[in-house]
Symmetry: C2
Subunit: 479 residues, 2 copies
Amino acid sequence: MDTPPTPSAPLSAALIDRFASIVGTAYAVREPNDIAPYLVERRDLFHGRTPIVLRPGSADEVAAIARLANETRTPIVPQGGNTGLVGGQVPDNSGTEVVVSLSRLDKIRSVDPEADAMIAEAGVVLADAQAAAEAADRLLPLSLAAEGSCEIGGNVATNAGGTAVLAYGNTRDLVLGLEVVLASGEVWNGLRTLRKDNTGYDLKNLFIGSEGTLGIITAAALKLFPRPRSVGTALIGLASPEAALALLHRARAIAGHALTSFELMSRLGIDFVLSHLPGSRDPLATRHEWYVLLEVSSGRSDGEARDLVEAIFVDASEAGLIEDGVRAETVEQARAIWHIRHGLPDVQAFEGGSIKHDVSVPVAAVPELIARGSERVRAMIPAIRPVPFGHLGDGNIHFNFTQPPEMDKAAFLGRWQEVNAAVHEIVGELGGSISAEHGIGQLKRSLLPRFKDAVELDLMRKIKATLDPNGILNPGKVL
Amino acid sequence: MDTPPTPSAPLSAALIDRFASIVGTAYAVREPNDIAPYLVERRDLFHGRTPIVLRPGSADEVAAIARLANETRTPIVPQGGNTGLVGGQVPDNSGTEVVVSLSRLDKIRSVDPEADAMIAEAGVVLADAQAAAEAADRLLPLSLAAEGSCEIGGNVATNAGGTAVLAYGNTRDLVLGLEVVLASGEVWNGLRTLRKDNTGYDLKNLFIGSEGTLGIITAAALKLFPRPRSVGTALIGLASPEAALALLHRARAIAGHALTSFELMSRLGIDFVLSHLPGSRDPLATRHEWYVLLEVSSGRSDGEARDLVEAIFVDASEAGLIEDGVRAETVEQARAIWHIRHGLPDVQAFEGGSIKHDVSVPVAAVPELIARGSERVRAMIPAIRPVPFGHLGDGNIHFNFTQPPEMDKAAFLGRWQEVNAAVHEIVGELGGSISAEHGIGQLKRSLLPRFKDAVELDLMRKIKATLDPNGILNPGKVL
């Protein structure tokens, strides 16, 4: 890989003071104990160093920071709620990078139910944005496990996915406009709420998902939707991923856009949940090899979501796809079903080490991915336990492998890259992506040249050089 | 405006021969009579000249053309079905630009109903792409008046809108991946059909809507959807655009994504249609100031779309929004209602000259746009007849003004720019767009600096210079 353009010289005390004076002493974090939380991320895979964390209170202060950074060639690392899983939001170990926390930009500037749009600053916590939409009788559909602490700016910068992508798309699909501080310190005011605007190049999509390497997002205009009046949730036992795929197509034909979630789980995952998650119980009377959690949302009436779920059941039963199934009759029963799905990522830890993948393939190729991936990895580590699960409706599988019960954890995790390589090779052959929703950050940066063709990487590098000629924006991430 | 980077020297015969040899004599159009159709566009606002039209048969030939053009600094003008309305697809008058017709790239490479995706080359006519999707029991929702002759490459290059945007989005929202020939002659193979892919910068959105100025699209991967099982169509008479807006919100709350069209028309537009369109008749017993055509599509059952339309009627009647309304009971009745809407753009010609605008504002601001725009223009030309109509659900109004009956047509059209300026000023004040779906091309190029801030224009120019350093791709368009 190219050497990232990080200077090796430490920042001078005078320069640190100049940065601090932009935000004021109270918001220039310089005590090591106070800095510490900004330097590690959730999975504890990446640790960094910095002499100062800046907490600007306005887009103008962010712009002033960028101007000074650009003038002095100082790398800056934007950070939101610090929930990213690929190390994109933490500085490197050089101690020469300045962290810019956007958390104080926490105002919801407007919620407009007539325009079905809200404008939220980068530091607004996702759950707060959801609540503000709900207070105006609207739905902000973006929803993910970290929603209690992740922030809008980070969601947009990483093009976050989540559990409502099937019906509403990724974060990219929910953004109407952006306000972005450029590397030069100029502010691009692209905070439009228009549904249609064909006046030149689409700039917002360049910043969405660029992980802070092309600009610093300070506010976003987001699409809102009517709140559903009823939600129908069901758990279905079936024989194979192929049956789940066939069910998906039938469910979409019946419910259309009203099909809001379609999650696949294997029996082993259910077993892990039942063993380790307090308050969980087997929702179906008999065991099945595979399970689908499906959810339908209706804007029409209390009964419609239930009717649609019922229609899907009848249709799929007639087609012989369903072995057994249960439909939630109450909100509590729906929660119990989601409890199993949401518990899955964490319970694996109780079974030892896990080697994880956040991959996507064309939806129709998911069964082949699971079959070939499991077979290939089992050939490498015979007693390994595949626990694939995730958003079948989006082709996005969290293809995780838990260690054999008897194996040493460290020895197992030592084979991380080898297992990754095997799975990613199959993903590549199926025309898939090695990062479906978590991004590249530091974790997958070295993999990009193998999975992107040279023309595409070259285009990315040229765009980076054009928008950030001095390489000050989150260097060493993505590219 | 900047001078476009078009060389003034005519192309040498030797260079013309080199271009011709790439596609072969049979596909190098050099006879003036054969060239003529490529030099004018539908509204006959722009005429151009060229010594040669190239009709490549593969992306490789397009790439070879781009390489030679880049090496010799020869401007090239990509053209699809030649249905654009802003002069983006025709050469300038210098006679130094080479037209590259993509129409021979007319293969549908794949239709994959399992993956809900199809890959179509640039020259596939939209109606043929729709038919191929339908043959696989899928819906390609992109639909517009020119669908019988416009081509996929042009649809993507201009981010075409149309009548299904409300539920399915613009062309941008329907594109999963692209194959693009760059100015250098390199080919970017971004023909992915993935629903989720977070591996670096979003390049495809840069080319979508760039009107051939950043690259030449040779193929596109497009999203498909389940075909609706039933469609409900209704025409509703109401008192005002405000009532139409309130109806829109209620209809969306009831039908959600199933609300697939919501079109606004004024009484004067209906009168024009009834006067001039053969086979049209007033669908409601009494006259109303305003009309809404709404359409609901259901994937569930034959009855659902009708039930949803009925539910919208009941709800809106109780709220006092509807003066009268008719629901199509048969396919023929639905066609008759759409006949009125589709007839609207053309019947204006029978009433003399019209000054037209393709604008959008935040959906909630449409009533204000119509009120202020009509008042402002009436103050300029008292007897002028405003005929606003279009996609209220998208905030996109074709805000057209027909001349006073007694006025001289030429004198009226002579005030085009003055009327444009007045309407665009209000659009700007409302945070709207001066080109909602037709693009910039040549027609609106000189307006951009007034409606884009300097930071945004500067970013656009930098990206153009990065992707097309020699300015060979469709110069004089957009920027």
